[in-house]
């Protein structure tokens, strides 16, 4: 009975601790011990397992947004930015003179 009580207390503590640490876990930035703690809890807790799953999916989708096709010359804005930078610099220089 005491053992079950201890397990319930531990489950509650891990349940509060786990969600705020899920991002660090998914980024590989948790210590090994903390990672084991989170994995143990997620294994036992349906709710936290679902949060972790959906958070992982969210991050993967965001990374997909950042992926671009191979650089296409016709999509570069660098020459326009450079031209604008030169114009502003010249205006600035004239103003400062």
């Amino acid at each position: 009975m005491l053992r079950r009580l201890i397990e319930r207390i531990r489950f509650g503590a891990d349940h509060r601790w786990s969600p705020p640490h899920m991002s660090e876990y998914l980024d590989g930035e948790l210590t090994e011990g903390a990672g084991v703690r989170l994995e143990r809890h997620v294994h036992d807790c349906d709710r936290c397992r679902e949060i972790l799953r959906s958070l992982r999916t969210t991050i993967a989708s965001l990374r997909g947004l950042g992926r671009r096709p191979a650089a296409a010359p016709d999509t570069t804005v660098a020459p326009e930015v450079l031209a604008g930078f030169r114009d502003r610099r010249n205006e600035d220089d004239e103003r400062l003179d």
Partner: protein
């Protein structure tokens, strides 16, 4: 086209060192090297095409003017991002809640994420990207900046924290809040049933 002399063999650090001595061609090479990346990050953050170009140009001008103060403790592009995101946040912060520019409302983030759909991109994926981009724009600016820099732009935690001038612990907290807010917004759209959120 650009009038700059490309020196692809030189590192950013070398070009910065030359630019600090007044070598304008070296600085212009840095502009050509980083303009697209900075522009796209600004678009993903929520600026429309014109605003993003304007802020990018302003960023390089400010960088040029304050190059003497760049201490090289962070990478050059991280410093550029810091200048650019500060200005973008200032502009976006002036908008009324929910206001988006016409161009941004037409899908700025997903447009620049993938201007030309690849062969594998089907309608479902395109829809998902639109949903995701719309949800991202609903995030408060400080959370959006963290998520865009870390997850969309792919900066490391250390780099992204440096851009936002935060300690790593504070940045991680902000990033997690941003991701969770986004996750909550996306529940029901493609993450599955919301009953466990």
């Amino acid at each position: 086209m650009s009038g700059s002399t490309e020196r692809p063999g030189l590192s950013d650090e070398s070009l910065v060192a030359r630019a600090r001595e007044g070598d304008m061609a070296a600085f212009e090479e840095l502009v050509m090297r980083h303009a697209d990346r900075l522009y796209m990050a600004l678009r993903r953050f929520g600026l429309d095409e014109g605003e993003a170009q304007d802020v990018a140009q302003e960023t390089f001008l400010r960088a040029w003017r304050s190059l003497a103060r760049f201490e090289g403790r962070s990478a050059f592009f991280t410093w550029l991002y810091r200048i650019g995101f500060n200005e973008a946040q200032r502009r976006l912060g002036r908008r009324r809640p929910g206001e988006v520019s016409t161009a941004a409302g037409e899908g700025a983030i997903e447009d620049v994420a993938d201007r030309t759909p690849g062969p594998a991109e089907d309608a479902e994926q395109a829809e998902l990207r639109t949903i995701l981009a719309d949800a991202l724009r609903e995030l408060p600016l400080e959370l959006r900046a963290a998520v865009v820099l870390r997850d969309v732009e792919g900066l490391s935690t250390r780099e992204a924290a440096s851009v936002l001038e935060l300690g790593e612990a504070a940045f991680k907290s902000r990033l997690h809040r941003g991701r969770m807010a986004l996750r909550n917004l996306l529940e029901g759209a493609f993450l599955g049933p919301p009953e466990l959120g």
